[in-house]
Amino acid sequence: MFKLRYDDFLIYDEATGTYSMSAEQKVRDETERNRWKNTGLTILKDWRLYLMLVPMILVYVLWKYLPMYELLAAFKTGSETNVLDRAWAGLSNFQEIFFGKQEALTAQRFWMAFRNTFILAFYGLLFGFPVPIILALFFNEIRSNIARSILQVCVYLPKFLSIVIVTTLVISLFKGTVIEGNNITQQSGIVSQFLTLIMGKNSDLGAQAQLENGLIYSARYFRAIYIVSDLWEHAGYDSIVFFAAVIAVSPTSYEAASIDGAGKMAQMRYVVIPSILSTVVIMLIMKIGSLLSVGYEKLYLFCKDPTYGNYQAALVVSTLSNYWNSALGIAAEMVNNLIGMILVIGANTIARKASDVSLY
């Protein structure tokens, strides 16, 4: 920092004992006075650029930012269409979901959903993040272009199926056996049968697979199935980004490393990993950003109401609103999304401190 001395901008006239403005300062003042004028002129000159932003901003304001105005409902009570017309209710909605003053079930459901959201998000990150990186590193190992293309097509494909198709396939592969009288009216799903074969009929898993609920509607195995199906759906597609980063590593780096006597593992450690680190950090932050919004679409299709066997494990915060009025639903989601935001800002800050790479 520097200190401004008076003689930077004032001239002392010894004869009269008065101060007067220096020539440099006059120029500075002039610039300062014209600053807003110049800014305006620059904007005017580039008006086309600003016009180009208008459709994007309009869309984002209308359908990404305006919904946030509906969040006011969490602090209000009543059922008027316009949120502003409703009476303020302070934090009573939040008290209701946290402590269940009026109905104990509300708080019970909220905490169950909250716990499930965190568990699913945590496992999703634990498995869903490293697998795409490993896939990308392995793809880089395959020298034959044709073999790699075929494998890549297979691995990317699940992402291109709609959520409806994915859930249908998952349910039919993991469904249970339905017996009416002595007839089997529905065989259990192929994967259920396969797992039963491996684990044995008398194991816990085998027994569960034989029930009407099957594995997919059992509270115990639902989470595992959900995580695996998520991995199945996204891992290949997520590896695209990492693969792009891996093939961007220049071949000379590998050569230099191998001349220095680096084996495969050492090359991975000292060449590949450092080069893709920034991509990894960015993707990790982005993944954390969407962490707590775990598959409301998918879980909505997997589990609709408490009669479903997997309800205990599949209820998450964003599907809670199926059971509640909208004010409580909005309050619960707001808590959830605020925590999500704190997580991502924290991750971003840590990343910036530790590695100079950050999303924002």
Partner: protein, 316 residues
């Protein structure tokens, strides 16, 4: 000079092949199952004997009766056409504002660039949530309907799905990064030749970022084609003629099969049991038909993937 392959390298390569082949098999299997089921008949579907190959009467064979039934469902085709239309128009609309916005944001001379970027990135961090978004869709479609002097139920709600959905900040950032990678000398050269802003964008930036634009277009297109949840919420049951095909398939599953785990009502169950074809096989036939357009477009765009996504350069 050919270097001798080291043992560690060989082991690593073998592990890579084995892992990838197993993973790819896992990824492709459910699709093979769907294809096999679509060509199977009722007896084998009920007995659950379909594993990899299509079955007829519990023996390997193929029948197209499920496809025949799917072809006869007129609403399926109405909704199929809807999806094609919605995906096409929706992708173009999303690309339109994304390309323009990304171009403007990629310019260093844009004033308030940091603010605009924050405006975008913030939507990735905090969202209002499902309930608030659903309410917002209802209210905004009311407002749009009131412009033409109608109520929301009287306008064709698929336009709400087309215009109001599919915002994706990640795609915008990808495109912005690609535009930032275009050397500024080329732009200056074009400027000296008297090109306007739009001409620079159209003749310089878009051709030079072809790979990213193709990738982003595919991402948008796929999210449009597969969109289910919001389309179902916004359009609702009254306007079933405006449904995208995914909503129709789910509705068919709910009405005619036990795939969702919910037992059918007695009347429905009797009706389904009396049918000569398996409704589950029909579902799979529809699933197969609904995947076809993506499989047709996908190979043309896949080659751009590795070039098209550069996430490492994401800067604020």
């Amino acid at each position: 000079m050919k270097r001798k392959t080291e043992v560690s390298e060989l082991i690593f390569r073998i592990v890579a092949y084995v892992f990838l082949i197993i993973f790819a098999a896992m990824c492709i299997y459910p699709l093979i199952y769907a294809l096999a089921a679509a060509f199977s008949d009722k007896t084998s579907m009920d007995a659950g004997s379909v594993i990899i190959l299509p079955m007829v009467g519990n023996k390997v064979g193929a029948t197209i009766e499920a496809f025949k039934v799917a072809f006869m469902e007129s609403q399926f085709w109405v909704n199929y056409a809807n999806t094609l239309f919605m995906a096409f128009v929706g992708t173009i609309w999303c690309l339109f504002y994304t390309v323009l916005g990304a171009y403007a944001l990629s310019k260093k001379r844009l004033m308030g660039r940091h603010g605009f970027n924050f405006f975008l990135v913030f939507t990735m961090w905090f969202s209002a949530g499902v309930v608030a978004t659903a309410l917002n869709y209802t209210h905004t479609s009311d407002i749009f309907a009131s412009f033409v002097g109608k109520t929301a139920q009287e306008i064709d709600l698929k336009w709400v799905v087309i215009i109001a959905m599919g915002m994706n900040a990640t795609n915008l950032i990808l495109l912005r990064n690609a535009f930032e990678g275009v050397p500024s000398e080329i732009e200056e050269a074009a400027r000296i030749d008297g090109a306007t802003e739009l001409q620079v964008l159209w003749n310089v930036y878009i051709p030079m970022s072809k790979a990213t634009i193709a990738t982003v277009a595919l991402f948008f297109g796929i999210s449009r084609w597969n969109g289910y949840f919001w389309a179902q919420k916004v359009i609702g049951d009254q306007q079933s003629y405006s449904w995208p095909v995914q909503v129709y398939i789910r509705d068919y599953i709910n009405r005619f099969t036990t795939l969702t785990g919910e037992p059918l009502s007695d009347a429905d169950a009797d009706r389904v049991n009396a049918l000569e074809y398996s409704t589950t096989a029909v579902v799979y036939a529809m699933v197969v038909l609904a995947v076809v357009p993506i499989l047709v477009i996908y190979p043309f765009i896949q080659k751009y993937f590795a070039k098209g996504v550069n996430m490492g350069g994401v800067k604020e």
